[in-house]
Each structure stands twice: as structure tokens, then as C-alpha cells.
Amino acid sequence: MGRVILRSIAGAIPVVLLVTLITFGLMRLIPGDVSAALGGITSTTEEREQIRKNLGLDEPVHVQLLKWYGGLLRADLGRSHFLGKDVTTATFERLPVSFSLSLYALVITLILGIVSGILAALRQNTWVDQAAMMFALIGVSMPNFWLGLMMIVLFSVHLGWLPTGGYVPFTQDPIGWLRSTTMPAISLALLQVGLLARITRSTMLEVLRQDYVRTARAKGLPNYLVIGKHALANAMIPIITVIGIIVSLSVSGAVVTETVFSIPGVGQLLTSAILNRDYPMIQGGLLFVTLMLVGINIAVDVAYAWLDPRVRFERG
């Protein structure tokens, strides 16, 4: 098992090196003079010089690169000139909000996605199957920010059931948290529900045709045990591998969902950074989120090997 963990981490090293290099290069793609863009046309030469200095652009590229990696080793992703804070600090402050929203969305995704996928597989080619797959298609096709806006129009503006936006921490007021995060979590989850339902359905259909399921049926096991114990346990393994994709989609989705619902999470931090041309924040936030995902993917790899002995022994 230890070897599996080590191998996953070693495999991620080149990816991390390239990801950090690409993020560094991204800032150098800004066309023209950044300081002129940031300072505005009225800025003086001294002001522009100061902006360049703050961004570290007054030095040769190789020095900038060394400083960038030196900073990364100290978990320093640069400084947001707009917020007057370290990017790392600003991101960590917002992380609990995004995390609680994503977790809520993940719970919705897992329950709805797996249940509708299994129902569709068990009732293959019936109306249940068709309804579940129609729902999945709508899920993968619906723009999540639009769904959010439509829910606000219906449930907040017309019916007045839920607040239009804002965030209440769970520790302060659990009911308030639920009221403020339910619509965002649903609009965030729908895409992933669609994907998961499709994948669950196809793996479940695959598993139901296996010999061990037939054997379980033949020895007279009741249906719920065949499904619950034999089929589902084996169908879960491929499903675990898509968790990484689901989390990645949820991170992207959170940026726009948090903006729609005015939730002060990492996503909103990034959108306000875009509007303020806060390049260090965009750069640092992008890298932070991506490295977090690389970590989650390592965890998924390890979980996969742990759940499936075939993988563990074949390569380990």
C-alpha cells in the first residue's frame, strides 16, 4: 500500500512542476505593459515603475522564475495588490465557505447520481430508465449559472421562500446555512448528477451481467442482497475514479455559482480579482485550486488501489 501511495505522488511531480511553470508563464502573456493597464492612462512614469516593482516585473525573467519557485517552497503564492494581503491568506480565509458549499453539492451529487443511475440500470429500457436519462441529459446541458438565476427568480423573487444570496456560516446558524446554500448547491450539483447517473447506469449494467451476480441469483439470494451486496460493491469501483472529475467540475462551477449567489468563497474571490485585474490573485488562486485537485487525484488513485486488489497487486 505504501508503495502505491509513493508511486502516485512520484507520478504527480512532473505535473506539479509543469503546472507551476505554466501558471508563471500565464502572467507573461499579458499583452503590452501591465503597469500601464493597471495604473490607467493617467498614471505617471513613477507610478508605473512602482506597480512593476510590486509585481516583481522589474527583474529579468530568470530571477522572477527563481523567486516564484522560492516563494512556492515557502507556500507563498504572491501578494494581492488589490486586497493588500497574501494570496495564500486570502484564499485560506475563503476556503471554509467554498468547502462547505462543495461538500453539500457533493452529497446531493452522490445521492441523486447513484440512485438514479442504479434505478435506470435495474429498470433498463422502461420509462424509469428513460426519465432518469432525460434528467441526466438536462443536467449535463443546463448552464449552472442560468439554473441558479432561474431558481432565484422563482424561489426568492416570486415565492419568497429562500434568500436571493449571501452566506450564513453553519456554526453560527445551521438553518440559516441550509437556507443560504441549498439553491447554490443544487445549481452546482446538477451537472455532476447527470454525469454520475450516466456512469453509474453503464457500470451497473456491466456488473449485472457478470457471472458472480448470476451465481448469487442462482443460489437463491433475495434481490436486494444481490444488488446491494454483490452488484453495487463492484459497481462502486469505477465510480470512485470519476470522483476526481466531479470535484474538478465542482471547483469550476463554484466560481460562477458563488458569483450568482453572492457567496464569499474562493470562487467569488477569483471573479472579483478578474474585475479588479488583480493578476497575482488570479495566478495564485488558479495555482492553489489546481494543486488541491492534484492532491485529490492522488487520494483517488490510492483509494482505487485500496478498493480494488487487482490494481494493487498488478502494478504494486
Binding site: 512532473p14 505535473v15 509543469l18 503546472v19 505554466i22 501558471t23 500565464l26 502572467m27 502573456l29 499579458i30 499583452p31 429500457n125 441529459l137 438536462i138 449535463v140 446541458s141 443546463m142 448552464p143 449559472f145 442560468w146 438565476l149 432561474m150 432565484i152 427568480v153 423573487v157 450516466r198 447506469r201 453503464s202 449494467l205 456491466e206 474538478s248 467540475l249 471547483v251 469550476s252 462551477g253 466560481v255 460562477v256 458569483t259 477569483l270 471573479t271 478578474i274 474585475l275 485585474r277 493578476y279 488570479i282 495566478q283 488558479l286 485550486v289 489546481t290 485537485l293 492534484v294 487525484n297
Partner: protein, 300 residues
């Protein structure tokens, strides 16, 4: 040597021609019989028609301000209503379809060219594979929409920059699919036969490997079209698309958002158009996958 390879190819091609033609017909027939493919095609045709016929559907310019007609709800005179500046929403939505489809088409074309090139090089030349796929993996490690946001934010808002940002994000995903089918096809006996007949790398790739690896690419491109349209709208909504007043669906929703209490139609209709477009492309992709690429087929 090369001459004999050409002669060999031509002989094989001539012998296979009738069969190939009937296989092509068979594929088209099966696509036509695929229910969701047909439905997706019909929906997509409606959107394309709306975009192409925009000047006839709406003689009014999408940017014409009519201050006396602010916030008109949908009616016979203004089928999709008007916005805070009295602009015709019908005009903005159909011209928005033009922009969305243009950006989607460009991203698909750029991906078809560069994705195929990179994927074919990586899949065929083992020496290049490692380096190219490492870079691919690194780009794919970024969440797609976030990377597009980063690139678009850095480059500045414009339609060409949007196409560039979306291409950077999606080319590695396309290249990976081409690469894996190129690897499979390279193992085929007819490729070995071509090598034995003395055909060069370029000829083998162009004539034998690529034509036989196109099915997964075609499936990928139709889904890619859907992602590109959706991501473009998302970025426009966040203020990273073409500069206003350009009527992209994302821009319309971004501007209309503050009036959603008094004029909900401003955000409802472009969003619905976007959802229908994405759904049509997803249905097309599902149909193509079922018919062209049975390996990927979701169990039926």
C-alpha cells in the same frame, strides 16, 4: 520502394471501394435511425437557422436603443421583450446565436487541426510521446473553466482571445483521444503491411492511420462544440467575453441580471437558447458515439 507502396495502396483501395461506399451508407442509415441523434440534429438545425437568418428574423439591429420601449415584456410586437435600453431581445438573442456558433465552430476547427496533429505525433512517434503527453497532462490538471478564465483574463476581452483561451484548454483533451486511437490503429495488420511495402511515415499516417482513427475524434468534436459554447457563455457572463454591447448570450445575461426582478425575460430567453444548443450538441454526440464508436457505447 515508395512506388510499389503507392501501387499497393491503390490496388487495395480500388478493391475495397464498393464495400467502403456501402459501409458509409450503412453508417448514415444507422445515424438516421438513431432517435436522439435525429432529435439533436433537428434542434441544432433550428439554432443554426436562427443564426443564419438573423437579419431576416429581426430587421432591427441588436444594438439599436429605443428608450421609449424600455422593459417591454414579450408581446406580439416584441416576441422576446426589450431590455433596460429598449433593445430588441429577439435581435440580441439571434445575433447572439451567430456569435456563439461562430466561436464554437472556430474552437472545433482549431482543435481538429492541432488536436489531430499533436495526438498523431504523440501516438505514432514513441520518442515524442512522453514529452507531449506530460505537457498535455499538466494542462489537463487545471480545471477547464478556471484555466480558460485565467487565460482570458490575462489576454483581455475579445472574440479572438476567447477562441484562443478555449483552444488552449481543450486541445490537450482532443489530442489525448486522437493519440489513443492512433496507438490502436498503429497495431493493425494493414499498417504493418504498409510498412512492409515500404511506405514512408507521412504516407502511413495520412493514408492508413488517420482515416481509421477519425471516429472517436468526430464524437469528441461534437461534445467539444457543446463545452465551447457553454464555457464561452460562462466566461462572458463573468465579464470575460467580447466587449459589450456585443450580444453574446453570456453578456445579455450578465447585463440583465440586475433587472431580474422587473424583467426576468432578459435572462430567461438567452439561457434557454444556450441550454437548447448544448443539449442538441450533446444528443448529436451521443448518437455519433453509439453509431461510430461501439467501444465507447453506453450499454443499451
Amino acid at each position: 520502394m515508395a512506388d510499389s507502396a503507392v501501387a499497393f495502396d491503390e490496388a487495395v483501395a480500388a478493391a475495397a471501394e464498393p464495400e467502403r461506399r456501402s459501409a458509409r451508407w450503412d453508417t448514415l442509415r444507422r445515424l438516421w435511425r438513431h432517435r436522439s441523434f435525429k432529435f439533436g440534429l433537428a434542434l441544432f438545425a433550428i439554432i443554426v437557422a436562427a443564426a443564419v437568418l438573423a437579419p431576416w428574423i429581426s430587421p432591427v439591429s441588436p444594438n439599436k436603443l429605443q428608450m421609449r420601449l424600455r422593459f417591454e415584456p414579450p408581446s406580439w410586437d416584441h416576441p422576446f421583450g426589450t431590455d433596460n435600453l429598449g433593445r430588441s431581445q429577439l435581435a440580441r438573442v439571434v445575433y447572439g446565436a451567430q456569435l456563439s456558433l461562430f466561436i464554437g465552430t472556430m474552437v472545433v476547427l482549431v482543435n481538429a487541426v492541432f488536436g489531430t496533429l499533436i495526438g498523431a505525433l504523440a501516438g505514432y512517434f514513441k520518442q515524442l510521446d512522453n514529452a507531449l503527453m506530460r505537457i498535455n497532462d499538466a494542462i489537463m490538471a487545471f480545471p477547464a473553466v478556471l484555466l480558460a478564465i485565467g487565460v482570458a483574463a490575462v489576454l483581455g476581452r475579445s472574440t479572438p482571445n476567447m477562441i484562443l483561451a478555449l483552444s488552449i484548454v481543450y486541445i490537450p483533451r482532443t489530442a489525448r483521444i486522437v493519440r489513443s486511437s492512433v496507438i490502436v490503429v498503429s497495431q493493425m495488420e494493414y499498417v504493418q503491411a504498409a510498412v512492409a511495402a515500404g511506405a514512408g511515415h507521412w504516407r502511413i499516417l495520412r493514408r492508413h492511420i488517420l482515416p481509421n482513427s477519425m471516429a472517436p475524434l468526430l464524437v469528441q468534436l461534437s461534445f467539444l462544440f457543446a463545452y465551447a459554447v457553454l464555457t464561452e457563455a460562462t466566461l462572458s457572463f463573468l465579464g470575460l467575453g467580447a466587449e459589450p454591447p456585443a450580444p453574446t448570450w453570456g453578456n445579455i445575461m450578465s447585463e440583465g441580471r440586475q433587472y431580474m426582478r422587473e424583467a426576468p425575460w432578459i435572462i430567461t430567453i438567452p439561457g434557454a437558447a444556450l441550454a437548447i444548443t448544448v443539449m442538441a450538441l450533446n444528443l448529436l454526440g451521443d448518437g455519433l458515439r453509439d453509431v461510430l464508436d461501439p467501444r465507447l457505447k453506453i450499454q443499451q
